[in-house]
């Protein structure tokens, strides 16, 4: 009989990458690599299988162009790097399941042609239904969709070919920073269902420069401030509420330098509810936007059907965009009065943004479509849209100046997630990433992850509109949190050498302070539980199956010191599931993350199931 449940030590991806990079550089320094005979490292940073790094030296400083030859001439992706003698160049935009041709060409000099064989990184899975656009419109941009489920981040070119992909579940939003890097949620779960350890700043080739750990975890959205600091949506892990805080993170040190608790400007007991509202998730913050013109922050709150603007410095409430029905008198002065024709409020919206001229846009999921439960729309009668409002904060009026999607009805309806992007006047992206159908093919009342569990199907549709003409439509199977248009290369630095850093910290996990009497039976956990511990340097994850309704406590014990963590074995109906990536198809399986913060020394891990305390045979060192 085994004396220990399954135990796996997981090394942080940044540490794996640091080692891989050192090995790559050592191989490079020990060899004689020239432009005719470069060192080629496929998937050098382990998480982007549609990339490589080529390394070589030239006698003189010279600019070099890297060219991934497209399946058609228009699909070729190239970039010219500044002159240098030592060249460590990312190769981006390789095709999956293809013998790629890559040209390396010195400025007015030698050209080397390489062949890079890439396996089918999608394992035969269908990843796209269609891309409708032209090479003239999309040029060398790709449309990247970020995960809301089991499908991972992928970028598609004008032809619908995947040219960028991550093999780790970096969830929620993905944005390009001013320095050309990406900011994206980490793949490290801090708390179910989707609260992550923080943010990764990474290059497109997949090198992670920094993990910004967020004490209360990261969810949904981040934003780069003009000074380079990062806003991250978060929460207090020890609070009874979720998704109702934002922090500003120092870009260099990773320290939290400012915190906004939404309970300071809204009273959860007084806000008007959306159809998905719960006590715990009373705000459900899914987006943040900083407006330099007014030095203000706008937060999108799905569960109050509103976008809320506060002063960056004082945190005082400035205005609220949303249906004022159900809000008490004391809040009415913050609401706008609609003017003009064809005005409609947004319901359970996502991805608020402020345009350069002060208009407010969002993806109006229009879930339920009303404040009144008697008037809640069924999925089959629903629609979603991108919408732009013009607001006058002197006269407190609001006018709807643009929308897209309403006419498409339920086919474009996403009750959750999604985004809009503003490129220029009249030029927008609208991503409906949460479309779901039940097993009979009807628009699903359940959110995507639950529709799938019940035998349904899901998809995402992304469109780009220019002066009311649709210029692009991408349809992919799977729900995707957001879509962004990116070029693979930037004019800045595309790849820098040096160790990635892990900054900041995560808060300690919430403990139960009540002791549960249980007989220490000395037995290993029952085989039925299929228990497993994944140990990381700053947290560990306990995965186990239980009978529904069991009372389960995980205990860390060191002499008289006992830390108790409750594990729920009763599934609760979820009204929000913006990222279902970590959900299990068997809802008896549980996933509990324990932060090592606040713990010190070596602890025995034991588990109480009802009235018996079992051994795991595992010790955790903190």
């Amino acid at each position: 009989m085994t004396e220990q449940i399954k135990y796996t030590k997981i090394e942080h991806i940044i540490l794996q990458q640091n080692r891989a990079e050192k090995e790559m550089l050592a191989e490079f320094e020990n060899g004689d690599y020239t432009i005719e005979n470069p060192l080629v490292k496929y998937n050098a940073y382990l998480i982007n299988p549609l990339s490589a790094v080529v390394l070589f030296k030239t006698d003189k400083e010279v600019a070099v162009t890297v060219r991934v030859i497209g399946k058609t001439p228009a699909a070729t992706i190239s970039h010219t790097f500044p002159k240098a003698k030592t060249h460590i160049l990312p190769v981006l935009g390789l095709y999956s399941d293809y013998e790629n041709t890559v040209e390396i060409e010195a400025y007015r000099g030698k050209k080397t042609t390489l062949k890079i064989n890439v396996p089918d990184v999608f394992n035969g899975k269908k990843i796209i239904d269609y891309m409708q656009t032209t090479p003239e419109y999309l040029e060398d941009n790709i449309i990247v969709v970020s995960p809301a489920g089991q499908d991972l981040s992928t970028g598609f070119d004008f032809a619908g070919d995947a040219r960028w992909h991550l093999t780790i579940p970096c969830v929620f939003d993905l944005k390009r920073l001013k320095n050309g890097n990406l900011i994206i949620g980490t793949d490290r779960l801090l708390k179910m269902s989707y609260y992550m350890s923080g943010l990764y700043e990474m290059s497109l080739v997949g090198k992670i420069y920094k993990e910004y750990r967020v004490p209360g975890g990261y969810h949904h959205d981040s934003f780069e401030l003009p000074n380079g600091n990062l806003l991250s949506l978060t929460e207090d892990l020890r609070s009874d509420t979720v998704e109702d805080m934002c922090v500003e993170i120092d870009r260099q040190t990773g320290e939290v330098v400012k915190t906004w608790d939404y309970k300071n400007f809204l009273n959860p007991a007084k806000v008007s509810h959306s159809g998905s509202w719960t006590d715990e998730d009373w705000f459900h913050n899914n987006a943040v936007w900083y407006d330099e013109n007014t030095n203000s922050l706008t937060f999108s709150g799905r569960h109050i059907d509103a976008m809320v603007n506060i002063d960056y410095e004082t945190g005082e409430l400035n205005w609220i965009i949303g249906d004022p029905e159900g809000w008490p008198e004391e809040y009415q002065k913050y609401f706008f009065k609609p003017i003009g024709n064809n005005f409609e409020w947004q319901y359970e919206q996502h991805a608020c943004l402020i345009t350069p001229d002060g208009d407010v846009m969002c993806f109006d999921n229009h879930h339920f479509g009303s404040k009144n439960p008697d008037k809640f729309a069924k999925a089959s009668e629903s629609y979603s849209r991108g919408v732009r409002y013009h607001i006058n904060t002197e006269e407190m009026t609001i006018e709807q100046v643009w929308q897209y999607g309403k006419d498409r009805g339920a086919e474009f309806f996403s009750p959750y997630i999604c985004n809009v992007e503003f490129y220029n006047q009249g030029h927008y992206l609208v991503h409906s990433g949460g479309i779901a159908y039940d097993k009979d093919g009807n628009p699903s009342e359940a959110l995507g992850p639950f529709a799938i569990q019940a035998g349904g199907s899901i998809n995402s549709i992304t469109v780009e509109i220019c002066n009311n003409t649709k210029m692009l439509e991408l349809k992919v199977p799977g729900n995707y949190y957001r879509a962004e248009k990116l070029t693979l290369y930037t004019d800045g630095i595309n790849l820098e050498m040096g160790d990635g850093q892990i900054l900041g910290y995560i808060n300690d996990s919430r403990e139960m302070d009540t002791e549960v009497p249980a007989e220490a039976c000395g037995e290993l956990m029952p085989e039925f539980c299929n228990a497993h511990i994944e140990d990381e340097y700053d947290k560990f994850t306990f995965l186990s199956r239980f009978v529904k309704g069991d009372l389960v406590l995980l205990q860390l014990e060191k002499g008289d010191e006992i830390h108790r963590y409750y594990i729920s074995t009763t599934s609760r109906p979820a009204t929000a599931m913006c990222v279902g990536t970590f959900l299990d198809t068997d809802d008896r399986n549980t996933r509990t993350v324990i932060s090592k913060t606040g713990l010190s020394g070596t602890y025995d891990v034991r588990v109480i199931i009802n009235d018996k305390k079992y051994e795991t045979g595992v010790q955790i060192t903190c």
Partner: protein
């Protein structure tokens, strides 16, 4: 004081003082944990509060009357009037704070 009650007993006991009604199910993990938490609360507060445990499945009339839709649900009452409702497993400090606000 902590006691599991029938509908009839509940109606005899809920109108005076501070009462916490715990609507629970014997098949629910969080309810089982909450029962230990409430026992702990009872130990701390003693006679200052009546904690009445109501079996969700056996007292349909009460769950309908109080529009209890899930378990565990804690309903805090002062002299028979509901003042606060909490759904799901709660920790001892929040329960004690909510009770003390009514004392």
């Amino acid at each position: 004081m902590l006691k599991e009650v029938t509908s009839q007993e509940f109606k005899e006991m809920y109108q005076d003082g501070v009462v916490v009604a715990d609507f629970f199910s014997t098949t629910c993990g969080p309810c089982k944990m909450l029962s230990f938490v409430l026992a702990d609360v009872d130990k701390t507060l003693g006679d200052k509060v009546k904690i009445l445990k109501v079996d969700f499945d056996k007292n349909k009339d009460l769950t309908d009357e109080y529009k209890v839709v899930g378990y565990p649900t804690l309903i805090f009452m002062k002299d028979g009037v509901e003042v606060k409702r909490l759904q799901g497993l709660q920790q001892k400090p929040l329960i004690i704070k909510t009770i003390e606000e009514q004392l």
